[in-house]
Structures are given as structure tokens and as C-alpha cells.
Amino acid sequence: MKLSHDRLPSTLVAGVALLIAIVLAVLIIPLVSPYDPTAEDISSMLQPPSFAHPFGTDQLGRDLLVRVAAAGRVDLALMVGVELLPFIIGTAAGLIAGYYGGWPNRVITLLSDALIAFPFYLLVAVVAFVTGTGITGIFLTFLIMGWIIFARTVKGATASLAGAEWVESARVMGFSDASILVHQMLPNVLSQAVIVLVSDMVALLVAIVTLGYLGLGVTPPTPDWGTMIADGQSFLSTRWWVSTLPGCAVVLVGIALALIGDGLNDARRQS
């Protein structure tokens, strides 16, 4: 998918701009803020948004602005890190299944069908039971489940191209199967996988936040949007900012990724 600046979809531009703004905010705010995201200050508990604390403070007197930013660092890094390996594995599996068909396709399809039938949050609980709560459990769970969507997308796209004459030309030319997969097929299916990647990141972020909310994700004192939402739940009717502002951060990232996904889709259709 090759894009020229004069025909970039506006949704893509808006999504990328919003995401850059969010990433810059979560990187810069903890550096310039006078507050430590984990330092408790009992004298400043549950203060509403003010000049000193633009997002207010939580039940332990911690500045919520710096905590939302610090949690953003954790959750966004986790989102990218957790998605990367399943993306690579799923894309490779999809390429192999789509190109060769036959038994590689049957094995990969069987494996993905078996895994997808397993309830996701039950798997989370099982993995958390084995590994304990925290990042390792999240990483393992998404590694087990996350590759499937990429494998299915790439398999379909690859299978539809495998009989194309330009693929046969490459075979006649003498390119190896590995070279055909990586250099010929991959550039033609990668855009679809990337679109799925961006869309899946939204679901992944929601899952990370949900796991934090349920106490199965990032463990305190490391800040995390899900844990922060759960912490403020008891005060939701009187101290709305404690839960709402971390929730708004999740929504903003979701909007940015959804815009990017739509924009990439539009760009792919244009090209």
C-alpha cells in the first residue's frame, strides 16, 4: 500500500495526529510534572480538578494527570508489545496456510478453530492462575489467542493470490518458496494484516484495561488505566474524575486507532 500525501484519507491524518498527541502527552507529562505517579499524599485525597492538579487526585492523594500519563505509557507499551509477536506469528502462519493449502492449512485451521472456541476470559483466568497476575499472563494469553485473527486474514488474502500468474512467473524464474512468500506475497497481503492489526489493537487495549479492572492485569503500584477505573468506582457518584478521566484516555486512544484503521482501509481501496 503506497500512499501519496495529496490523497491521504482525512480519517488517517486525524487518527495519526491524535495518536501522536496522546503518545507525546504520555511521554512528556511524567517528565515535566512535579508529582510522582506512585507517591501518596494523604492530605490531598480525592481533590477535584484544579490548577495544581488538572485531573484532580485519587483516594491516596496521587496526582491523576501524571498517573493517567504514566498508566498510558504502561498500557500503550503493553498493547504494542503484546500485539507484535502474535502479528508476526499469525502473518507467517497465514502466508504458509494460504500459499501451500493442503496439510499446513488443515493444521493451522484446526489449531485456530480449537483455540477460538475457548472463552477468552476463561483462558485469562487459567493463565493468571498458572503464571500469577501481571504482564506475563497478559502476554501469554494474547500470544495464544492473538495470532489467530492475523492468520485467518492473511490466509484468505494469500490463498486468493496464490494462483496468480505473477506468482507462477516467480516460480518459473526460479525463486524459492520462501522468497516468493516474503518478497512477492507479503507486500500484497501486509496492508490487510496491518488494518486488522490497528483494529485489533483497540480490542486489545480494551482487554488490557478490562483485565486491570478485574485485577488480573497490571499489578499495583504500576499505574494502569483499568486499575485506576476500578479504584475510582466506589466514588463514581461524588468523585467522578477518578474513574472517568482514565476512561476518557482509553476512549481517546480507541478513537485514534479506529480512525487510523478506517483511513488505512480507505487508502487500500484507493490504491
Binding site: W166, V172, M173, F175
Partner: protein, 228 residues
């Protein structure tokens, strides 16, 4: 030659090493070739131009890449063991495009979608020439093209056959084209060769009834050699 389903394209794919034959083997200069897993040199020597120019070029690659990847794989440019410079590759790509009647330097940076069917088929032919093949298999290379462009492509193949010393294995429905372009004609039916003769002998005495019927049917339309 032969009717649809006669096995012409299957035979071409067997010769090109794309599929394994049920029986028999492919010989090149008397040397048997593996059905599919051939040596790099054997791959280089037999190239193929496909029927549909719309799907015969990788849509995500530039024309530069399409033309250069074969010559880099087979090291047909520059001294062996030394990767040629980008300038040398570009120069060779432009020479190849010139050979097939395309001369705009901007072509190299563009992708296949920017070209017409006839231009794409020329680029597909240029790609095969990049590896200096001995045999060029052309599987109905004009059937997906406009009539005016068909003649241009056939003219080009006839010229390249002369200038590049290529052996051309042409699959066609058109006896006139076969008459003008080919030294030998093989007629296929039901996956086997019905007749295999020199073109001159074929038109003098087509042999089996099926070949006679084919010639008679073509004569009732026109078998006048075209302008190739």
C-alpha cells in the same frame, strides 16, 4: 494448437516446471529436467509469458523491481559474484524496455496498474528477457488483448525470436499466427499430441482427421498469415 481443454496450457506449465506431469519428462538439449525442483540455471533457460497481462505482474512492485529481480537472482548482469550498481541495473532495465518497444524512462518507477494490457504484456516479455532465456513459452499471449495490440505483440515475439535467438513455444488458437511464426506445429487433443509436423508439412498434409477438421474450420474463416 488445439481446442480448449486439449491440454496446451498444461503442457506449457509442465515445460516451465510449474506442475509435475503424470507421465513422461521434459528434455532440454537432450538433458532431462526435474519436474519442478530444477537447478537455478535450468530455471533461467526456460521462461514463460502468460495469457493475462493484468495478473502476470506483481501489483505491489515497481517495474524496476519486476525487471531487475530476475537478473539479480540469475546474475545475468555484470561480473559474477559482484552485485551490479543501481545505475547499471537501471541501464539494463531501460535496454530491456527498449527491446520490447517501451522507451519512457519514467516507466521504471511506476507500478503495473499504470499500464495498458499491451504495455503490461511487453513488460512481462521484458522480464523474461532479463535472464537471457533459451526457450520462451508464450501461452496465448495475445488472447486477452485488443486485436490491434495482438498484432504488435506477435510482431514483437517474431522479432525477438530472430534477434535474441530464442526458441519460442507458442500456444495459440490461430492457425494463421502459427503459420507465420512457427517452424513446427503440434496439435493436441484430450491431453495428447495428435500431430506434430513442420509447419510446411502440416499445411500440405495435416494428417489425422481432427487436424484436417481444424485446418478446414480455420480455412473457412481465414488462415491467411497475419502481418508477423
Amino acid at each position: 494448437m488445439g481446442e480448449s481443454g486439449a491440454g496446451k496450457s498444461t503442457l506449457a506449465r509442465v515445460a516451465a516446471g510449474l506442475i509435475t506431469p503424470a507421465t513422461g519428462q521434459v528434455l532440454l538439449d537432450g538433458e532431462p529436467l526435474a519436474p519442478i525442483h530444477r537447478t537455478r540455471e535450468q530455471h533461467r533457460r526456460i521462461q514463460m509469458v502468460f495469457q493475462n497481462p493484468d495478473s502476470s505482474l506483481n501489483p505491489s512492485h515497481s517495474i524496476y523491481r519486476i525487471l531487475s529481480e530476475g537478473m539479480l537472482l540469475h546474475r545475468t548482469l555484470g561480473a559474477s559474484g559482484v552485485r551490479p550498481s543501481r545505475a547499471a541495473i537501471t541501464q539494463r532495465c531501460l535496454e530491456l524496455l527498449n527491446m520490447v518497444g517501451l522507451s519512457d524512462a519514467d516507466i521504471l518507477s511506476r507500478r503495473p496498474q499504470a499500464f495498458s494490457g499491451g504495455q503490461r504484456q511487453r513488460i512481462a516479455i521484458a522480464r523474461t528477457l532479463a535472464v537471457n532465456p533459451d526457450v520462451l513459452i508464450a501461452d496465448e499471449p495475445t488472447s486477452a488483448l485488443d486485436v490491434s495490440v495482438q498484432h504488435e505483440i506477435l510482431d514483437l515475439l517474431a522479432a525477438l525470436r530472430q534477434t535474441q535467438g530464442l526458441s519460442l513455444m507458442l500456444i495459440t488458437h490461430d492457425l494463421g499466427v502459427a503459420n507465420a511464426l512457427c517452424d513446427d506445429i503440434m496439435v493436441m487433443r484430450g491431453g495428447t499430441s495428435v500431430v506434430h509436423k513442420s509447419t510446411e508439412e502440416f499445411f500440405a498434409d495435416p494428417g489425422p482427421q481432427y487436424a484436417q477438421d481444424l485446418l478446414a474450420a480455420a480455412s473457412s474463416v481465414s488462415i491467411t498469415p497475419q502481418s508477423v
